[in-house]
Amino acid sequence: MSRYTINRRHFLGASSLLLGGAALPSFAWGEGEPIKIGTLTPLTGSGGPYGPVMADTVKAVVDEINAAGGILGRKIEVVSEDDQTNPEAGVRAARKLIDVDAVSAIVGTWASSVTTAVAPLCWESKTFLATVSGADSITELPHQGYLARTQPNTTLQGRKFGEFAVAESAKRVFFVSPQTPFADSQFQNITKAIEAGGGETASLIYDDKKPSYRSEVDELLRFNPDAVIFGGYAPDTTVMLKELYRAGYQGKKIAFAYAVNEKLVDSVSAEIVEGCYTIAPSSDESSTAYQRLVELIGVDKPDPYTVQVYDQINLILMAMAAAGETTGTAIKDNIRKVSQAADGAKVDNARDGLKLIAEGKAVNYDGASGPCDFTDKGDISDSSFRYEQVRGGRLTLVKIA
């Protein structure tokens, strides 16, 4: 033990370092404690490829705002935690963010299970949670408004498929899909959009392990559709496309971009998949916000989650400024005032937005992932989608809208 005795000089040195360290931030920030915002992204585990860039993006936005003077005269501090793509570890990390750091908001939860596990802690402690998870059930939780997400849910995706079919002047639309968690809600929302356009729909759920879909295709053709929407994944959609071609189907084909992907297009003969449309949620690459983001983080093609987390942090910072307060409740009550104010000036970043808010003007943020307008439940009401078509055996961009 005697080797570890502390003499007076060591003690003085160590304690002045400690005290100095503790005192430093309060000198540096001048007025008031810094506002704390937590990022809870997957830095390890299966979400590991996305989380680090997401956390860096939040940091980059906050650095920029701090350099421009912070919010309400206070600096912002980002605390990053790792959810390990695991709800058990995610809850422990969220507890630390909420109880020790007392963050006003947590941004960036990625896996739906982590978001569902962390959400109750947030609404109980009145902390705002912004997430990129997609499961429909998340916004059904009793979150009292303390949760918002920028990832389109299947309701919105279904509507987009329906609206696209209507725009392609399809009147009789048939939906074929294997049993998936979202097949039902997908079909309901397609039907809603088609019926609004004066058309008719029918659907068929098939077993995705079957080697052939002859009877399914017969049933499909009996409906005499002018467009078919595929709800499946690549392997079963391949078989289905082949059967339809053999049966002489001439109408339009629409599928998810993850099903009719480049691999599928390369693996079947060109005429089978020719003319097929694909749809996928997309960042709004033509927006000024997207171009700012690319410049800010120096990544050429940021993934959708990074793009969404960029919008989330911008919105949260502006909501605090608009409220004149920095609590989670203030963010909850004001986020829609800066995301979708009908008479607000369009802004694409928080720095410009904060200036306008300081002048007492209303703002309406249009982000890099889309217009970023939220429903009362916390879903986004609209998002950009990427439409492609197979032309001459290659996927060709039709539009992003």
Partner: protein, 299 residues
């Protein structure tokens, strides 16, 4: 800060129960159960489903114990001829099977969405802070009771017979003991404790999903038992709390090394867990509280 400490101690209690479960089977009778998290999951889902069907919480916990014990019985009987590495592989597979069933049997488990809104006993009456304190007290009491029972078992003739099986099961067989019987009983009790831990966890978090039950937890518990002392119940309990505090304390390291990026730091935390295990095995293989072999009383 206080709320965070209360939370960490509660999670420590759940880990301690798992460590007691593992210590009974691994330290006691020498069977390596790499599927611990599977029994944890069974208990959590059993209680979530039973209370979800309208039964009181205590029935849920009782159900979790029964389901755990029955699963333990089935596993030992199905693997009666397997030992060492072979048993370890089978139990590892079992935990994955349980996770995949939870993921795919939507009608029962709600699939990847998991079961949310699990009843939190007395939460509406006690409020958030009160509930957290109450739950900490209750989990700690359960840990205390289970620890006392297992310590009693450890020092009884039954415990000596178990440890004899661990050292040389043929010899114990020759001495007239029913080796399979001991194994089945020990495995069932161990699995029941893991099931109870799962039920306590489910009602604390109000949410379970297949993602909760990744093999990572089993590894943490092996670390806890190895660090605390294999073969001694108190060692497992101490080790579990040490592991939870180690995992939580490392979160505060970036304040000391601000130059590390969050992703680098997250990786460092995982490395630290591995390094800690290596250091324990190298410098204190017997654990913080080494096993005590109490000589049998002279008759």
């Amino acid at each position: 800060m206080l709320a965070y400490l209360i939370f960490a101690l509660t999670i420590g209690g759940v880990y301690a129960l798992l460590a007691l479960s593992l210590n009974l089977i691994w330290g006691g009778i020498g069977l390596v159960n790499l599927g611990l998290v599977g029994f944890f999951a069974l208990g959590a889902y059993a209680s979530a489903l039973l209370t979800g069907a309208g039964l009181p919480v205590l029935f849920g916990w009782g159900g979790a114990i029964v389901v755990g014990a029955v699963a333990g019985l089935v596993v030992t009987l199905a693997t009666a001829r397997l030992r060492d590495d072979y048993l370890a592989i089978v139990t590892l597979g079992l935990a994955e099977v349980i996770r995949l069933v939870a993921l795919n049997e939507r009608w029962l488990t709600n699939g990847s969405d998991g079961i949310s809104g699990i009843q939190a006993p007395l939460k509406s009456a006690l409020g958030n802070q009160g509930f957290n304190l109450f739950y900490l007290a209750m989990v700690s009491a359960v840990v205390l009771v289970v620890w006392l029972v297992l310590r009693r078992l450890d020092r009884s003739p039954y415990g000596r017979a178990m440890k004899a099986i661990r050292e040389d099961q043929e010899l114990v067989g020759f001495a007239g003991k029913n080796v399979l019987g001991f194994k089945v009983q020990a495995f069932a009790v161990s699995a029941a404790i893991a099931g109870l831990a799962g039920a306590l966890y489910a009602h604390f978090q109000s949410y379970v999903s297949p993602d909760h039950f990744q093999p990572l937890i089993t590894i943490y518990i092996f670390l806890a038992v190895a660090a605390g002392g294999v073969g001694r119940p108190a060692g497992g309990v101490l080790g579990a709390y040490v592991v939870v505090f180690f995992l939580e304390l490392t979160r505060f390291l970036p304040d000391l090394v601000p130059s590390l990026a969050p992703a680098q730091f997250a990786a460092c935390r995982e490395i630290l867990v591995g390094v800690a295990l290596i250091l324990v095995l190298r410098f204190r293989p017997q654990g913080l509280l080494p096993e005590q072999i109490v000589p049998a009383p002279k008759s």
